[in-house]
């Protein structure tokens, strides 16, 4: 373990008590607040596994520790990805990154039992899940958590992933959002299929529920036909909150029509502002009020006692994330061939990539790139900065991230709140399970003192904590028109 992490551990518990900054939000109206979510990633090299403080990726205790820290820090949401196939690299299992993760909804059901307020967000794809099953499992989590469930809607279409599922690679890439919309519509129909007062109020009633109070749902598209009944009543938040993460124009429009929260990759101020303006336009165009869709970019936070300490820590984080082998593999994913004979601390390979397009087996970030163009661009960056292979990969993968003292980072976050650029950040910890300690112990108090972060949960449901309105299916046209005005 490096000196930098020692410093963090030592000061984490005392930092917030020594801060003497005067709150700036004591006069006037309440400031707009930011929120935090946390992403337990389970894949990719951003999670450091080589450090002595890196815990199990599988043991329930890791999840318990992380989510309870997040809840102590008034985080609005805890977010899990979805694994559909173990990643491969050059035709073999990719063995350099953390791997092996639980089923998201099952894991979140267990976490619901040990938490009170934090939202539980499950990434679930619309391609390789059966709508009747998916809708019911989401509704089940919503009931078990007392109205804290959310669905991060993703699409996937490649046949490589489909090899683990009945239908294989059945869907056209072009149809993926159309089909996703069908799955969302079906899920909403099932969630809304129980009338408000479906269940009898008394044990002496004629029946436990009125059979008429539950409508049969029948939906179909080119790929699926669903005919069945919902098995659960509405939850305390009506139905699960809908998240979405696609960044293409099509993905943004899908979010504007269907989602309530959009994740984004735009966590730096100017791109974030541009993204917000674009998404709000699309939301208005979809017939919804501009603030109906909350924006949560992903971010990393690297906090030090001093600016110099934080920079040193960031260097350690990046070097731990990008091992020499990871640096070579990063290039190999583009070159499409074994580059192990190249020195990670030397220059970029002079040979050309052997493939015409990158594959999908390493995850979306690597997919569909033009290798020769990418290689040329990278060579230019490396030449200009005199980067080695490893330095280049560190450079390319560290675009995100606030690095500094808690106070300095809080200063940087203020305009994000005041200028309505984001609604919150989805934090990706680089260490499991202690990766939120600094943020909760040091950054959150700084933000709270500035009045731009909640000091307690607004209520028991995720919908309340995110400040969301009723689901779209629960609003009538008049209400929407009034909200838009």
């Amino acid at each position: 373990m490096s000196a930098a992490t020692h410093a963090t551990t030592t000061h984490a518990t005392t930092a917030h008590t020594t801060n003497t900054r005067t709150p700036t939000a004591t006069s006037g109206a309440r400031r707009r607040q930011l929120q935090f979510g946390v992403f337990f990633q389970g894949v990719n090299f951003s999670t450091i596994w080589s450090d002595a403080n890196s815990g199990s990726q599988t043991d329930f205790e890791s999840f318990r520790r992380l989510i309870q820290t997040a809840e102590r820090g008034v985080f609005s949401a805890f977010f899990l990805g979805e694994g559909l196939r173990l990643r491969e690299h050059l035709g073999r299992l990719h063995d350099l990154d953390v791997a092996g993760r639980p089923d998201a909804l099952t894991q979140l059901a267990a976490l619901a039992a040990i938490t009170e307020n934090i939202g539980l967000v499950a990434t679930q794809n619309t391609t390789y899940n059966d709508p009747i099953d998916l809708a019911h499992r989401l509704a089940s989590l919503d009931i078990l958590s007392g109205g804290r469930a959310a669905w991060n809607i993703v699409t996937t279409d490649n046949a490589w992933t489909g090899a683990n599922f009945r239908r294989g690679g059945y869907a056209d890439h072009a149809d993926r959002y159309t089909h996703a919309e069908f799955v969302v519509t079906t899920a909403k129909a099932l969630w809304d299929s129980w009338s408000e007062d479906a269940i009898s109020a008394s044990r002496d009633a004629d029946s436990w529920a009125s059979r008429d109070a539950v409508a049969e749902v029948s939906e179909r598209d080119a790929y699926f036909a669903v005919r069945g009944r919902g098995r659960l009543p509405r939850s305390a938040q009506q139905h699960p909150v809908l998240f979405q993460a696609g960044d293409s124009a099509e993905g943004r429009d899908f979010a504007a029509r269907n989602a309530e929260v959009i994740f984004s990759a735009h966590g730096v101020f100017e791109p974030a502002r541009a993204f917000a303006a674009d998404v709000r336009q699309r939301t208005l165009k979809a017939g919804r009020p501009a603030d109906d869709l909350k924006i949560f970019p992903g971010q990393e936070f690297i906090i030090g006692d001093t600016e110099a300490d934080a920079i040193e820590k960031a260097r350690w984080v990046r070097e731990s994330q990008v091992s020499p082998q990871t640096a070579i593999a990063f290039l190999e994913a583009v070159w499409g061939t074994d580059l192990s004979s190249f020195d990670p601390d030397g220059g970029l390979p002079d040979i050309q990539p052997v493939q015409d397009e990158t594959g999908e087996t390493r995850g979306a970030g690597f997919r569909g790139k033009r290798p020769r163009e990418v290689a040329d661009a990278w060579r230019a960056i490396a030449e200009e900065n005199e980067f080695s292979i490893r330095q280049l990969v560190i450079h390319l993968s560290s675009g995100r991230g606030f690095v500094g003292t808690a106070s300095a980072i809080a200063d940087q976050l203020e305009p994000f709140a005041d200028e309505l650029v984001v609604d919150g950040f989805n934090v990706t910890p680089w260490l499991i399970p202690s990766g939120l300690d600094d943020i909760v112990n040091r950054l959150v108090p700084e933000l709270q003192e500035r009045g731009i972060y909640p000091t307690e949960y607004a209520g028991p449901t995720l919908r309340e904590n995110l400040g969301l309105r009723d689901p779209l299916t629960r609003r009538d046209k008049r209400e929407l028109a009034r909200l838009r005005a």
Partner: protein, 365 residues
């Protein structure tokens, strides 16, 4: 299949307000409170406190209750999630959800069940749901299959799940800094399953469950076909070749000064609890103790699954007056915290089918 009385298992079914269609009328809670976290937590805690070996959670892709004219409960929280939710609230109770194995996605199902085993540190079971019902096929948007095909597909689902659970060897995660490798790809295997209705490549996305293999339960008629570890028998005369056999018993007990027969008659007055293939025990707790004592020494069964008519009445009575007496007589031992479901059932932790070199499994078991 005989085991000593120290591993005689007593399972209890926890679905809804109880197995009787009118059980919700005798519940200690309002109908609106049934499908909730609080109620789910209360029943599993009660089962753990009473010292049952394991709880089962009934489920189906179709709503519970008769399809037409039914007056009972028509909603249900998904059973795998109920089991997962129960895990951190308990420390010794086995958790056995019913999960439908005919029309769904086997890859997801195997991952979900492995996850229950991880969050419970080795207390997960799976009661294989085998139902060819055309209404389920319609809900999934798949072609309905015959009863025969349904068993064959369920058997394939169990087989591919077993391969996926073994697809990560126990020591697959190596975290080797020198080579930069998080796991050893020689110890992570493709499942390469090809069946009549589906094929699956694998490997699993989740590492091997703590028990190695989740304990598989199935109805006695299908247990051998699907390769179950434990067969649920409707009658003691039913023959099973599964490693363990558990007899099912529906239970109505005397309670609060009212005889079991009177309680049953009152509930049947609302909605008849139609007879099933299973034996239905209606009597006093003392008589149930006598029956279970006899079964505990019977050489054809290794345990029972009790199916209470009304959870808020019969579950409490069994916990209060039946299990303590069986324990006192040395006929039943409740599981202790940290014990796996396999250990409770006297089943060894299986070797990994993919482990090539002489593995550590034997030494560990």
């Amino acid at each position: 299949m005989t085991t000593s009385t120290t591993t005689f298992a007593i399972l209890v079914e926890l679905d809804g307000a109880g197995a009787h269609p009118a059980s919700w009328r005798s519940a200690a809670h309002l109908p609106t409170e049934l499908l909730s976290a609080g109620r789910t937590a209360a029943t599993v805690r009660s089962a753990e406190r009473s010292g049952f070996t394991a709880a089962t959670f009934e489920d189906s892709p179709l709503p519970p209750g008769p399809s037409a004219g039914g007056r009972g409960v028509i909603g249900r929280i998904e059973a795998v999630q109920r089991a997962a939710f129960a895990a951190p609230l308990t420390s010794s109770l086995g958790l056995i959800p019913v999960a439908h194995a005919v029309y769904g996605e086997p890859f997801h199902l195997s991952t979900q069940l492995a996850t229950v085993d991880h969050v419970s540190a080795g207390r997960a079971g799976w009661l294989v749901g085998i139902d060819a019902d055309a209404a389920i096929a319609a809900a999934y948007g798949r072609a309905a299959v015959s009863a025969e095909r349904a068993i064959a597909d369920a058997a394939d689902t169990v087989e591919v799940s077993r391969r996926l659970w073994d697809s990560w060897e126990d020591e697959a995660v190596i975290r080797e800094r020198v080579t930069g490798r998080y796991f050893d790809r020689e110890r992570v295997h493709y499942a390469d399953f090809e069946g009549e209705s589906f094929s699956i490549s694998g490997p699993a996305i989740v590492p091997r469950p703590p028990q190695g293999q989740v304990v598989v339960f199935a109805d006695g008629l299908a247990a051998a076909r699907v390769g179950a570890d434990v067969a649920l028998l409707a009658s003691i005369d039913q023959v099973s070749t599964a490693p363990r056999a558990v007899l099912e018993l529906e239970v109505v007990l005397d309670a609060a000064g009212v005889s079991a027969a009177e309680r049953l008659a009152a509930l049947d007055g609302y909605d008849l609890w139609a007879p099933t293939q299973r034996r239905r025990f209606v009597g006093t707790s003392g008589e149930l103790v006598a029956l279970l004592a006899e079964l505990a020494t019977h050489d054809r069964v290794d345990g029972v699954r009790l199916i209470p008519a009304v959870l808020d009445v019969d579950l409490d009575e069994i916990g209060r007056a039946v299990l303590p007496e069986l324990r006192r007589r040395g006929l039943f031992r409740s599981p202790t915290p940290g014990q796996t479901l396999r250990e409770s059932l006297g089943l060894a932790r299986p070797a990994n089918r993919f482990a090539q070199t002489e593995d550590l499994e034997g030494a560990r078991a």
